[in-house]
Amino acid sequence: MSEMPEIVTITTVVNETPTVKTFVFDKLFAFRPGQFCMVWIPGVDEIPMAFSAANSITVMKVGDATEALFSLKAGDKLGIRGPFGNGFSPSGKVLAIGGGIGVTPLFTLAASGEVDTFILGARTREELVFADDLAKVSDLKIATDDGTFGFHGFVTGILDQIDVVSYDTICVCGPEMMMKGILDRLVAKGIESRGQFSMHRYMKCAVGVCGSCCMDEHGLRVCKDGPVFTGDLIKTGEFAHYHRGPSGRKE
């Protein structure tokens, strides 16, 4: 049962964008794309992160713990627990749609050769993550909110231009309102069960015990029953309406 954090040493820090860094470490973890780990920043906190490779995480700076992570350099140590969760289970022709830092788990799916078409979205050109690598392994389509690169608008704008029904699996990760826009389109076509959505909820234990990450209406645990859920499981309930913060209060 013992799953004490595995202590890793950072070997390289890659600046991906002004707000995103990749931390490469000295140990390999056997994970499936979409699975995540808990990253212990000693003295600060422990937070969930998708693997961006067997030996790396790719992090957007959003608050205290990620800021502390950003101050770390090669030679510094982290604790890693995991991998956790179910990961994506794609079959047939696969479309991936990633927005913002949500591209990370989908990037590993594409890197393993599983994605046919990739729609990548970001606020602006300089916040696009992994675009060059994704172009090598998939048919990449890009949207930026401000039109500084590719399609001017949201990823759903590109989705409306392609024949989504021709895809057997649609893997999605990104801001919840973006995922909602995609789920609505899949529901309209009656193919929401082909959608696989990677959810983000507040995690504490990551092993399905504490209840912090549970979602309404089925009470499913994002850390253990997810983080990837098919569209039919989330289309009713709290998705795109609310989530719970660290105390369990609805936000």
């Binding site: 604790g79 627990r81 092993v207 504490c210 549970c214 309404d216 009470g219 369990g248």
Partner: protein
């Protein structure tokens, strides 16, 4: 193996569907997850402990699986009064509301929010929340006063004890004197781990509480001791993961049990245990409760 019958009457004032409840703090933060555990075979559920104000909990790591169990220092995260709305859809189900406070008055305040609770469980035993739980639950006078105040809300009151005391019987008797309808034994056992590579404690809170198989013998011993000391029913808790463990707890003196950490291995643990434990021609549980006392 011995098999028993499903309960035909209330246990400690609560109409349980079987002898096994979900323990406090395990998948107990939302109404939907509690409902899910009832659907998955729990005979009743105990909620996350609810206190006088919303608390985010300790920084992580907050829970670490170790050999034979889990160590947690969640720090009693809870949404406080918002939880009333959370469990409103469960009205009429066997939902025991776990509550805590820093003083008897605070226990009373929190109890007043939940007129639909099937019973209250007083958390006088969490080992990692300063000013709450075990830090007041080691004092027999405070335990009695908290029980008395919550008793005024006319519901069954279960008092949950910490094993981290010299003599658990004294605290159990104090709860009984205060009018408790049952004793729940036990909460987690104070514990910690250190990362040898980082030369520092793993838990964000430094120390926490051990649960799971590793503490089963401690829990059995606590129940056995209490059975000699009090006349009210005892609910056994700590490390239970099989039908045989349930029987052993009953033989020590437990009328029912609570199960938490075994969820780590299987979310279906209640129905899995029930399949082994129950039979229509089983014996009534009352026949074995306390039968091991020599």
């Amino acid at each position: 193996m011995i098999q028993i019958k499903l309960p035909e009457e209330e246990i400690a004032g609560v109409p349980l569907r079987n002898h096994m409840l979900l323990a406090a703090g395990i998948l107990g933060t939302t109404g939907a997850s509690l409902k899910r555990m009832l659907n998955l075979g729990a005979g009743g559920v105990v909620t996350k402990s609810i206190g006088p104000k919303a608390i985010p909990g300790h920084h992580g790591p907050a829970l670490i699986p170790v050999d034979g169990g889990l160590i947690n220092a969640m720090g009693l995260p809870n949404p406080s009064k918002d939880f009333v709305e959370e469990i409103a859809p469960l009205k009429g189900e066997p939902v025991v509301v776990s509550i805590f406070g820093g003083t008897p008055e605070e226990f009373g305040t929190v109890a007043s929010w939940f007129p639909d609770a099937a019973a209250f469980e007083l958390n006088l035993s969490c080992p990692h929340a300063e000013g709450y739980g075990a830090s007041i639950g080691v004092n027999p006078r405070v335990v009695r006063e908290c029980t008395e105040i919550v008793k005024t809300y006319n519901k069954p009151v279960w008092v949950k004890l910490t094993p981290n005391v010299t003599d658990i019987k004294i605290i159990g008797k104090a709860a009984e004197e205060g009018g408790a309808d049952a004793i729940v034994a036990v909460n987690t056992v104070k514990a910690m781990r250190i990362s040898t590579e980082l030369r520092r404690p793993v838990l964000g809170n430094v120390f926490g509480g051990l649960s799971g198989k590793a503490i089963f013998p401690i829990a059995v011993r606590s129940v056995y001791d209490l059975y000699d000391a009090v006349d009210i029913p005892i609910i056994g808790c700590g490390g239970i993961s099989s039908a045989d463990n349930v029987l052993e707890m009953m033989m020590a003196g437990a009328s029912a049990v609570e199960i938490g950490s075994a969820i780590y291995d299987s979310v279906n643990v209640f129905s899995e245990i029930a399949a082994d434990l129950y039979s229509e021609d089983g014996i009534p549980a009352e026949e074995i409760v306390g039968c091991a006392h020599v």
